[in-house]
C-alpha cells in the first residue's frame, strides 16, 4: 500500500529563476518525511512536482519505481492537503470526505459508509451533515485529512497544513497527525517552515534553502550535527562566531575565534566538510550549550559582560557580550546561575557542543 518515492536530479526552472536545484532523495514507504526551509526555498514547488501540478524541468520523479512524467495529478497515487485545506464550502462534511469516491463513480451508499468510517477515524463521528463553516479550525484540518485518506492513497502530501492554527491547536494537531500516520501507515511528506513541527513529527527531514537540499537526516542529526552553516543557523537558535582553524587532527580541532584562548571542538562527527589549518570557519554554539563557568580553569573559557535578560518562566534567555559579539544563553531557571550584571562573567562550552563549519550563508533571523 505504501510506495517509495525517489527524486532523481530534479530541477524546476521558471524562466531565469531556479526554484529547485538538483534535488536527489529517496523517501521510503511508510516514512514521515519533512521538507523544512524558509518561505521561497522551493519546498512547495518540490511538493507540487510530486503531486503532479508541476512537471520538473529536468530529472525524474518516481513513485513506486514508476516515472511520473506526463501523469496528471488526478492519476497519481498521492493526496495533497493544501495550506488553506481547500475544503469545498458548498458541500457538507460527508460530501467533502466522499468527493474522491464520487468522482470515481462510487455509489452513494458506499460513499456515505466510507465517509462515516473516516469521520470515526478523525474523531468527528456523526458530524457528516454539518457545513464546513460550522467546524472549528482543528476540525476542518481533520476533515481535510479524512478527505485525503478516502481513496487510500499511497502517499499523503501536506503543505504547511498547521500554519493557520493557533499555537495550542498546532501542538495538539502535531501529535494527532503523527498518530494518524502510525495508524494508517502511509508515507507522509510534510512541508513546513516551522522547525518545531519538523523535529517533533518527522522520521527524516530535508532542510532546503534557495532550491537546494542542504541536509537530509533525522531530527537529532540535523539539530546536533548540522553540515552547513545554513542548517546550523536555521534549525534552532545558534550563536555564530567567526574564526580561523589553527589545527585539525581529525579528532579535535583548535579554533581561534578572537575570544582569548583558542577553542577546542570535535572534528565533524557527522561528516561535515573537512577544514584545514588556516581556513576561515563558522563556529556554532547553541544557547543551551553555553554555561556559566563553575571553576576557573575549564576548557573553552572566555569572558563576557551581561547585556540583557528575557525571563520566560522555566527558562532565562540572557544576552551576553564577549569582545563586541552578542551571544545568547539559555539557562534553566533552577535558582543557581546568578549573574552579576556589573562584573565580567566567565562562560564556557563543552568541546562536543561546538560545531565548526565552512563559512556559508546564514539564515536570516
Amino acid at each position: 500500500m505504501t510506495k517509495e518515492i525517489s527524486l532523481e536530479h530534479v530541477w524546476v526552472e521558471f524562466g531565469e529563476f531556479t526554484a529547485v536545484h538538483k534535488a536527489n532523495l529517496n523517501i521510503a514507504g511508510g516514512e514521515f518525511f519533512s521538507f523544512l526551509g524558509p518561505s521561497g526555498c522551493g519546498k512547495t514547488t518540490l511538493l507540487r512536482c510530486i503531486s503532479g501540478f508541476q512537471e520538473p524541468t529536468r530529472g525524474k520523479v518516481k513513485i513506486g519505481g514508476e516515472d511520473m512524467r506526463g501523469v496528471g495529478p488526478n492519476k497519481r497515487p498521492t493526496a495533497l492537503i493544501f495550506q488553506n485545506l481547500a475544503l469545498f464550502p458548498l458541500r457538507s462534511i460527508a460530501d467533502n470526505i466522499a468527493f474522491p469516491l464520487e468522482v470515481r463513480g462510487v455509489d452513494k451508499k458506499t460513499r456515505r459508509k466510507r465517509a462515516d468510517e473516516l469521520l470515526e477515524l478523525i474523531a468527528l463521528p456523526g458530524q457528516g451533515d454539518k457545513k464546513v463553516s460550522e467546524l472549528s479550525g482543528g476540525q476542518k484540518q481533520r476533515v481535510a485529512i479524512a478527505r485525503a485518506l478516502a481513496v487510500e492513497p499511497d502517499i499523503l502530501l501536506l503543505d504547511e497544513p498547521l500554519s493557520a492554527l493557533d499555537l495550542k491547536l498546532r501542538q495538539h494537531m502535531r501529535t494527532e497527525l503523527r498518530a494518524i500516520q502510525k495508524q494508517v501507515g502511509l508515507t507522509f511528506i510534510y512541508i513546513t517552515h516551522d522547525q518545531g513541527e519538523a523535529l517533533t513529527m518527522s522520521d527524516r527531514i530535508a532542510v532546503m534553502n534557495k532550491g537546494k537540499i542542504e541536509q537530509i537526516g533525522d531530527g537529532k542529526a540535523i539539530y546536533d550535527h548540522p553540515t552547513t552553516s545554513f542548517v546550523a543557523s536555521f534549525v534552532g537558535e545558534n550563536n555564530v562566531l567567526e574564526g580561523t582553524v589553527l589545527s585539525n587532527d581529525g579528532q579535535k580541532m583548535q579554533i581561534d575565534a578572537g575570544l582569548g584562548t583558542p577553542f577546542t571542538v570535535e572534528s565533524h562527527p557527522a561528516g561535515g566538510p573537512a577544514l584545514a589549518p588556516g581556513d576561515d570557519c563558522h563556529l556554532f554554539v547553541r544557547p543551551e550549550a553555553l554555561r556559566i563557568s563553575k571553576d576557573e580553569s575549564s576548557i573553552n573559557q572566555f569572558e563576557s559582560n551581561f547585556v540583557t535578560e528575557e525571563f520566560e518562566g522555566n527558562m532565562r534567555h540572557i544576552v551576553m557580550n564577549a569582545n563586541g559579539k552578542d551571544l545568547k544563553l539559555s539557562l534553566i531557571n533552577d535558582g543557581t546561575n546568578a549573574i552579576d550584571a556589573n562584573a565580567p562573567v566567565k562562560l564556557d562550552f563543552a568541546p562536543e557542543m561546538g560545531i565548526a563549519l565552512k563559512p556559508g550563508e546564514l539564515a536570516s533571523a
Binding site: F53, A79, N84, F88, F99, E102, V103, A148, V151
Partner: protein
C-alpha cells in the same frame, strides 16, 4: 414635536424628490391604464375602466411581438451565458498583461452603440447569406436569428462582468484539490466551479433575459420584417397611442413587484436572525415562508385578473359618450342659432366688457361651454374685438 434644522431635512427632501423622480412616471402610467379616455391621461378623469386590459388581450400584433421577444430572450440567455462564463474563466486564468488586453476586447461591445451593432449584424449576415446564395427565407435573413446574434454580442459582455465579480472570489486551490483527488478537469468544473458560480449564473440569466426583452436600438435593425414587443410598442407610440400601453406597463410593474417581494421575503426568511425568531413559532414560520407569500400574491394577482375580466364600465362610458354627444349637440344647435343672428351673444357682452378679451370669456360662465377653441368663441372674440 421638535423642529428639525433645515440641513437635517435635506436628506429627507432629497429622498422624496428622488423617489418622486423614479416612481412618478410609473404611478401616472398606472393611473392612465384605468381611465376610459382613449388617450392615456389622468385628467380629465372619465371613467374607471379595465377595458384596456381586454383590448390588450386581443391585440394580436403586440402578443405576437411579445412571443418573439420571449423566444429571443431565451435564445440570448442560452448563447450569451456560456460565452460570458467562458470569457470570465479565461480572464481569471491568464496573465495580467493578456488579461488587460482581453478584457478590453470582451468589453468593447458594451461601448459600441447598439445601433451600430444592429446595423453591422444585419450587414454581416447579409454578406454571408449572399456568399452562400441563400434564399430570403433562410436563417441569414431571419429576424429572430439575427436579433439573438446581435443582442448576444453585448449581453454576453454584460454577463461576463457579472461572472467576473464572482469568479474573482473563487479559490483556485479548490479546483486543484478536486484534480488531486482524482477528478477529471470536467468533473472539477462541474462539481466545484459551477456550483460556486451558480448564484452568478442565476443573476446573469435574469439580467441577460431582461436586457434582451427591453432592447430596442439593436433589435429595430436586426428584427427585419418580424417584430418584437419593443418594436410593436414603439410603432404604437408613432401611429397612435391608447392606454393599452399603460395596461402593459401595469402588468410589467405587477410582475416585477411580485418577483421582488418574493425574492426579498426569501432573503429575509433565510437570515440567521429570523431563523432564530421563528424557531419555536410554527405559525409565524409558515406565514413568513416565501412560498406562502408567493401563494398569497398569486391569489391577489388572480383576483385582479378576475376583477378585470368582470368589471363592466360600459354604463359609465356610455354615459360619458352620451354627455359628449349632448354637448356636441348643444354646441351644434347653438352654432346654428348663432351664426345667422349676431345678436345672440349680446347677453354675454356685459360680462366680458370690463375684463376684455376671450380670457374673460373662458372664465365666465358661458352658454358655449368651457372650450375656448370652439368656433363660437372665435366668433365672440372676433365680435368682441370689433
Amino acid at each position: 414635536m421638535k423642529m428639525k434644522s433645515p440641513t437635517a431635512m435635506i436628506p429627507g427632501l432629497y429622498l422624496t424628490l428622488f423617489f418622486a423622480y423614479l416612481f412618478g412616471p410609473l404611478i401616472i402610467m398606472v393611473i392612465t391604464a384605468f381611465n376610459s379616455s382613449s388617450f392615456p391621461r389622468v385628467s380629465p378623469w372619465e371613467c374607471f375602466t379595465t377595458d384596456w386590459f381586454g383590448k390588450l388581450a386581443t391585440d394580436d400584433k403586440l402578443l405576437a411581438g411579445l412571443g418573439n421577444s420571449l423566444l429571443i430572450g431565451v435564445g440570448v440567455v442560452c448563447v450569451a451565458i456560456p460565452i460570458g462564463l467562458a470569457a470570465a474563466i479565461t480572464l481569471s486564468q491568464v496573465g495580467p498583461k493578456l488579461r488587460a488586453a482581453l478584457y478590453t476586447i470582451f468589453i468593447a461591445p458594451i461601448l459600441v452603440p447598439g445601433v451600430v451593432i444592429g446595423l453591422s449584424t444585419l450587414i454581416f449576415w447579409d454578406r454571408i447569406g449572399t456568399l452562400f446564395n441563400a434564399p430570403y427565407e433562410s436563417f441569414f435573413y431571419d429576424g429572430t436569428f439575427l436579433t439573438i446574434f446581435g443582442q448576444v454580442t453585448f449581453i454576453a459582455a454584460y454577463s461576463m462582468l457579472v461572472f467576473l465579480s464572482r469568479i474573482q472570489r473563487f479559490d483556485t486551490t479548490l479546483t486543484e484539490a478536486a484534480l488531486d483527488m482524482g477528478a477529471t478537469p470536467t468533473q472539477a468544473f462541474v462539481k466545484v466551479l459551477l456550483p460556486f458560480m451558480a448564484p452568478a449564473i442565476g443573476s446573469a440569466t435574469v439580467l441577460a433575459f431582461l436586457a434582451s426583452l427591453e432592447n430596442y436600438n439593436t433589435t429595430v435593425f436586426t428584427i427585419v420584417s418580424s417584430s418584437t414587443f419593443t418594436t410593436v410598442l414603439s410603432s404604437k407610440v408613432r401611429y397612435g397611442l391608447d392606454p393599452s400601453i399603460s395596461a402593459v406597463a401595469v402588468i410589467i410593474i405587477a410582475i416585477t413587484l411580485i418577483g421582488a417581494i418574493i425574492y426579498e421575503c426569501r432573503n429575509r426568511y433565510n437570515t440567521k436572525g429570523w431563523a432564530h425568531v421563528i424557531a419555536d413559532r410554527p405559525v409565524l414560520k409558515i406565514a413568513t415562508h416565501p412560498g406562502t407569500v408567493a401563494v398569497i400574491l398569486g391569489l391577489l394577482a388572480l383576483a385582479a385578473v378576475v376583477f378585470i375580466q368582470n368589471h363592466d364600465s360600459s354604463a359609465c362610458t356610455a354615459q360619458i359618450l352620451e354627455d359628449k354627444r349632448a354637448l356636441q349637440q348643444k354646441l351644434m344647435e347653438e352654432q346654428s342659432l348663432n351664426t345667422p343672428q349676431q345678436t345672440v351673444p349680446a347677453p354675454t357682452m356685459p360680462n366680458l366688457g370690463p375684463l376684455g378679451g376671450d380670457k374673460g370669456g373662458a372664465s365666465a360662465p358661458s352658454p358655449f361651454g368651457n372650450s375656448i377653441f370652439s368656433p363660437e368663441n372665435l366668433g365672440t372674440s372676433a365680435s368682441d374685438g370689433q
